[in-house]
Amino acid sequence: MIDIEGVSYRIGGQDILRDVSLQMGPGGVIALVGPNGAGKSTLLSLIARLNALQSGRITVNGLPVGQVADDRLARELAILPQDLTVTIRLTVRDLVGFGRYPYHKGRPSEADDALVTQALGNFDLQDLADRVLETLSGGQRQRAFVAMAYAQDTAYLLLDEPLNNLDIAASRALMARLRALAIEKGRTVVIVLHDINYAAAYADRIIALKGGMVIADGAPKQIVTEGLLRDVFETDAKVFRVDDRSVVLV
């Protein structure tokens, strides 16, 4: 379980997060939604110790973030950051292979290689395995990074806006794969999404943030309503029910 207790965060005198307390997992796909600047990415980066906590406490499976050794946490939790610029020439296989680094520390075993091959297969990257990352499209590169996080084989997987560069087919395929991970392997996937419809379709739970606070938290069916869109995003959009699912008419 990810346990967040009274976390606040300020940048340059501005409140980004205000006294956020949440519990996530174990298991399931959890979507973080909210307007730009709501604090979603900051929350994710604090859980993944990419930024240091200022106040409050976060534990991942009982390990206190910020105190536990980096490599220990790397075997418990993986994050796909938003910025995926690559300045070095690596093949897809190299990149996915680095996902095993927390385990082998530079001396990969055959089991590590097997897991990398499996990750490449799971994300349809076999044909691209020996291509250099910079020759790939944005979506393909994104997929390679997700495969790296997958190869890290952690109970918790955090993804910051992974659908940014993806077309509709790739977006649906990625979300379906994440969903399968949660169902078949009991992983917890925490994902920042902009498109409420994807959240409603694929998440078990949606957490809506605004102004650094949790405004709504619950199953998509219950909380994706016209009222929520007005409160959180300050926009008037109609919400319909299609196939027992809430759909926002954009």
């Binding site: 993944a48 110790r49 990419l50 050794a69 980096d70 490599d71 220990r72 946490l73 790397a74 075997r75 993986a78 994050i79 950051p81 910025d83 610029t85 690559v86 300045t87 070095i88 020439r89 690596l90 093949t91 190299d94 990149l95 680095f98 996902g99 680094y101 927390p102 520390k105 530079g106 250099v132 910079e134 996080a149 890290q152």
Partner: protein, 313 residues
Amino acid sequence: MRIGVSLLTLTIMALASLFVGVIDLTQAEDAEIWPLIRDSRFPRTVATLLTGASLAIAGQIMQTIARNRFVEPMTAGTGQGAALGILLAVVLVPGAPLSLQMLLASGTALCSSLGFFALTRRLPPTQPLLVPLVGLIYGGVIGAAVTYLAYQVDMLQVIEIWMNGEFSGTLRGRYELLWLAGLAALLSYLVADQFSILGLGEQVSLNLGLNYRQIVLLGLIMISVVSGLTVVTVGMIPFVGLVVPNLISRVAGDNLRRALPLTAIAGAGLVLAADLLGRLVIHPFEMPAGTVIGIVGAAMFLWLLYGSRRLAG
């Protein structure tokens, strides 16, 4: 396969190097040959190989840490910092032993590398060419300080030895420190994966549980030790650390576990070739290897700058 061919080429060049010099080995008397090879030709050949290999690897690691293809220790302040250290050692402790010079040189080289990274980490990542430009200016400023200081203590001619690298003075007993530089480069191979991950940036490094600061510091120490040792023993040789990693990156990519051996071989080959060329063009006189590489390397640098901007990232 690739490694095999390049190693074979390097061996042939190294053997040839044993036969190039003012004294023609085929005409020399038997009793002369062994001491000549032992005291001069062999040390000189080994020195070029060690210098080339370790400088190329230092350049590769510096580029990975800076996440920029256009930096290398000898043009971004590290080499100049090393020269400053040697000068300080010579001025403050007259008759300073080589080991003290080396220690101070590595220390000041580390300080100036830290300064370089402190300066460049604030630069906008959208302007990759700013990093090498700032490096050139920064290195130039430190170099100017060295010249000024040397002028004050009347040592201008002495610093020429460190500022322009060449191998004519490498004799038995005067090059052995370079083995340490070679060792530092060899050790970096043990943490090749860690260095590669650094190249993916701080966030990815943290995510993979890498102790980012510790590995960056380790890399900078390695670069500084190599710079300090080469500047003390043979002087500054520019562009090796720049051109070689760029070429190898195109052939073999940047997974350092695969690239570093090739980088080492190519670096050794380049410096050896430059030294051989320097010994041959105006035979029986010599042109410094640093000058030869300065000419060849500057041309290659311009080609890299203008020919392939996309490599800057």
